[in-house]
Point group: C2
Chain length 246, copies 2
């Protein structure tokens, strides 16, 4: 499995992905799920992928190949807004589907794939999309400023509680890492290293791209102190008062 989260803030975008892939429990590998398409000063686009690795790699390949195509077809370097970028991703996943889905079906393999696409193209604000296996997609709004793909449930409660459109990039990055930590602790199929990409509004390039492994001091601090903070917060809440004391 996978866990990726993308957050859209007034301040910019925060994208975090893990890197574990597994087929069953005995074929575990590390593959990056974060892909950056950047033309400094003009556009910065971040794609995170979940699902069948052959499908998602094929999709990224199609998107990358299209960049150098001279047919004038839309690609992530020439589209004029993020909605069109999301359509590029949607079209690419439909192309993979056309190519592979029936062969996969013969082996009873689902065509599973999902994507988070975030970025900013000069002339508009940063935008964030969730793209489905069918190539359709939805866009984040101020009410729902984040999307998750993969093992999303463990790490959802903390995001629901602390992230808002006016959170800073620092706060959102911290929250994304806590959300990832909760997921990694409770689910074997999500693992280090992580990719954390931050994009500041109107910078039009990646502000920071951290690769976070087990030695990363900040993530180690999060891992130990967050658990401790939770236990302290837990201890401070009063016990229920209805159990007989006899």
């Amino acid at each position: 499995m996978t866990y990726c989260v993308g957050m859209l803030l007034d301040a910019g975008l925060v994208c975090l992905s893990d890197s574990r892939t597994n087929a069953g429990v005995d074929h575990i590998n590390t593959f990056r799920k974060m892909h950056v398409f950047e033309k400094t000063g003009e556009r910065v686009i971040v794609l995170m992928t979940a699902g069948n690795l052959a499908i998602t790699q094929c999709l990224v390949n199609i998107l990358r190949e299209a960049l150098s195509s001279e047919t004038g077809e839309p690609n992530l370097y020439n589209v004029s807004n993020m909605f069109e970028a999301a359509r590029c991703v949607g079209e690419a996943v439909r192309e993979v589907h056309k190519r592979d889905a029936s062969a996969l079906k013969e082996f009873s393999i689902d065509f599973s794939a999902s994507f988070i696409l975030g970025g900013q193209i000069r002339g508009e604000q940063p935008r964030l999309f969730s793209v489905y296996a069918a190539g359709n997609f939805i866009e984040a709004t101020p009410d729902t400023p984040y999307f998750q793909i993969g093992e999303s449930k463990y790490g959802k409660p903390i995001i629901d509680r602390v992230v808002h459109r006016d959170s800073t990039l620092d706060e959102a990055a911290k929250c994304a890492l806590i959300s990832m930590d909760s997921t990694i602790r409770s689910n074997l199929s999500v693992g280090l290293p992580l990719d954390l990409v931050c994009v500041r509004t109107d910078d039009l390039h990646v502000l920071s791209h951290e690769s976070i492994d087990a030695d990363n001091g900040y993530f180690r601090m999060i891992r130990s102190r967050w658990g401790e903070s939770l236990r302290e917060a837990f201890a401070e809440l009063p016990d229920p008062d209805w159990l007989p004391r006899n």
Copy 2:
């Protein structure tokens, strides 16, 4: 859906269930998923159910009818230990399967059902089991002192962090309610009222059975203060230091 959690402690058992059932999103109802079988001073057995409501109601019916059977067949009132009690539940779910599974299959309905069974029968310590739709089951051990059924992921991280075999009943009940609160906040298919049953080791009767609705003062306190505590704990953690400050 459903969320139920059962915790096995040295101090006893804590069982918490929600009461929401839904078929799609437009047929939402309230049905209790907590069933107590008690002979004071001799045995106390708690069953929580998740899955298809017709299946789980049928199973509970079979178990209740068996109590007054005079054939000498094993039932929850005459078995001599909790392992045999878990076998009763397993046999009952197989009986429902034999009766209904093929008819359900014709409507492409999965035979989905899962159960948590906890309790103490005089002569042994309290025990806790997780029973599957196939009628097989596993038992909690000191390493894994809890089971969840239904929408288990949202509320798992907090349990993993704070509940141990030596937690008190109060602590475990508090943690179960926080875990439920996180689940209810993030998932529409889990809802109030809740049933919380606590059993103290060697009491051989239910210590407390609370029905918790939106007016319950303690749960309201948990709901507001836990979110606040999380936000405070979050604010106290240092921000990442790698984002350029310019």
